[in-house]
Structure formats: structure tokens, C-alpha cells
Symmetry: C2
């Protein structure tokens, strides 16, 4: 069977490494690539190579960009006094899509995780501290994920940074807009109740 051919097994393996792609889906994608018009396969192969070559991380904020510093860091209309800290470029992109945030970003490329040996130096937090000082940041919004590690990282940053000059805040966690209470899990509901505000 063609799926046993070494070149096809490598292709299936390449697809399986993508997030959310299991063995059966990877096999289906591989078959599609083998039977699709040649230009479709060329587009996939070449665009991966080209995008990797064209995209780098911004030397200031760590976000993915095709220019350095990135468009957000070099946009004077963005509020330099507000810094939103995210784990991954995908987090910054999600907030950008929202369209209301006007500050800048700092991408940690990870979270504190002592069990996996990721401490403040692995996240290069000294660069973050220096940036906050150099750019006169007044508010740091910690938007790390709502996981144990994300929460711990938020606590740590608050301990390090919160003071007279800099205010450290955390994004709100609660019931998603448009979501019914019955679909929210216990932890989300607990957060939603704890974070209640007067209306």
C-alpha cells in the first residue's frame, strides 16, 4: 500500500506533528497532497519554506514579524505606557483581532514551569524589566493563559513589578460573552463569581 512507502510515511509524520492532527487525518491529508494538482503541492512545500525565511521575531517584543522592529513596536500611535504580556504570538494575535487594545505587547515564548526547568532566565525576564524601565511603561497587563503555570507567572510578575511606578493587572476570567451559564465549567464559574463587579 502506498501509505507504507517511506516517502509517504515521512509526509504523514510531518502532518501528524501539526496541532490537532491525528494519524487518520494525517493520512487523509497526505493522500490529498499526492492526488491534488501539482501546483497545490508546490504551493504547500514552497510557502512553508518562504514563510519561515521571511518571518522572524521582533527584537523588542518577541512577536512574530516580517519587519524588525515589528509594526506594533514601531507604530507611534500605540500607547507605549501599556504593555500586554502573552505566552505566545497566537495570544497577541487574538487580542489584536479584538481590535480594542491600543498598547504594545511582550511575548514570553513560554511560562514559568519549574518542573520543566523554565525559570525567569529561560523566559529572559531581564529583557522585559529593562524594556519596562527604558520605555516608561506604567501598566503591565498579564494575559498569560488561565493554567496553573500561567497564573503562577502572573503572580511572579506582579511580585517583581507591581509598585508605585508600575501597576500590574490581570485580564478578567469569567463566563464568555454570549455563553450560557450551563456551558461554563466549575473553575470558570468560580472565577466569574469571585470577579463580580457592581453594575
Amino acid at each position: 500500500m502506498v501509505l507504507d512507502a517511506p516517502s509517504v510515511q515521512r509526509l504523514v509524520e510531518a502532518f501528524r506533528r501539526l496541532p490537532g492532527i491525528g494519524k487518520r487525518t494525517a493520512e487523509r491529508l497526505a493522500l490529498h497532497v499526492l492526488t491534488a494538482p501539482a501546483d497545490e503541492a508546490v504551493l504547500l512545500s514552497e510557502s512553508v519554506k518562504e514563510a519561515r525565511a521571511a518571518i522572524t521575531t521582533c527584537s523588542r517584543c518577541g512577536n512574530l514579524t516580517d519587519i524588525n522592529p515589528c509594526a506594533i513596536c514601531s507604530d507611534d500611535r500605540r500607547d507605549a505606557k501599556t504593555l500586554c504580556i502573552v505566552e505566545r504570538p497566537a495570544g497577541a494575535m487574538a487580542i489584536e483581532k479584538g481590535g480594542t487594545y491600543k498598547g504594545r505587547y511582550h511575548v514570553l515564548h513560554g511560562v514559568l514551569n519549574p518542573l520543566e526547568g523554565i525559570g525567569p532566565s529561560e523566559l529572559r525576564l531581564d529583557r522585559l524589566y529593562k524594556r519596562i524601565q527604558d520605555e516608561g511603561v506604567r501598566e503591565v497587563i498579564v494575559a498569560t493563559n488561565a493554567t496553573a503555570e500561567g497564573e503562577a507567572t502572573a503572580m511572579y510578575l506582579s511580585g517583581q513589578l507591581d509598585g508605585d511606578d508600575v501597576k500590574v493587572t490581570r485580564i478578567a476570567h469569567g463566563v464568555p460573552m454570549g455563553g450560557g451559564l450551563e456551558f461554563a465549567d466549575d473553575a470558570t464559574l468560580t472565577h466569574a463569581l469571585q470577579g463580580r463587579r457592581s453594575v
Copy 2:
């Protein structure tokens, strides 16, 4: 935003052309490719190219293969008198995974579809007829999909081929094994009842 960079847009477009991948998933896959270790991106890019170069269609049965004729066509232990007709290589692979079929295959690479201008000559059915004669095929099992076009193709082939020398059969359609009646759609249940057999 990095998703607006031309190279990344091409990458997202390449992923979107894959079956079952929408815009959001394509963006997620593109971000993964941009942030993954370099060797993972190289594996994806190169394996697509290599697999396309290594895999061809069998000159005899039309299935995907890395040798020509394919391993099934050149395996003397396979029953040459039985030919299973499928629309796509994926169909032959699905039956092979079942592990019980011992005959050979013929891949049409399509089905009769007058509205899209696909007739007997587009499917190169003359090659199929010649093969049936040359190889002394006695049974043709039509395993085209259970769509209107697949059924029409099965009827057409039966009209062309069924006779004293060759028996044309159709795979059974009915309730999947392990599936409850309540999950089957109306058309499947109708087929299941029509195709009932004595036990």
C-alpha cells in the same frame, strides 16, 4: 500583524486547500509552522516534495504506488479474476485496511458526471474493459461511493460488463457494524431493509 505578511498569507492559503481545513485552523497551523523548531518546518516542506516525486499511479490499476506496476498488481497471490472498482486511491486503501479482500483493484479517478462533462472516455473505461479481457476477470465488484454519481456509474458498468463471462456486483450498503439503528439516516435504513438477507 504577522498574518498579514504576504508569505504568511500564502502559507495560510496552502493549508486552506487541504480537505477539512478552514480559515481559523489554517491560521493556527501556519502559526505553528512559524514557531515550531526549524527541522519540523523543513520536514513538512521537503516531505511534500519528496512524496510527490516518489509516488506515481500504477499503469495497470491506477492506484497510487512507489513501484510500477504496484505491489498489488504484481502480487501473484492476489486473485486476478476479481476486480474491485473504486473512485479514488483512498477507497482502495480503505478496503486494503479491512484485510479480507484478496482480489485486485481498478481506480477510476472519478465517477460518471454528465453535468461536469465526465463521461466514459474521461474515466478511460476502455482501459478497464481491455484489462478485464486481457486478465480474464470473472467478477467486477463496483465499490464506487453511495452517491447519485457513484450509483449511476455502477449501473452503467453493470450494463456494459454484466454477461456470461463477467459478473458485476455492488458492495452492500446498510447500517454500519456496531452502529445503532437510531444513528442511521433514512436512505441508509431504506437500503438496509431492501438489502435484507435470510439468516
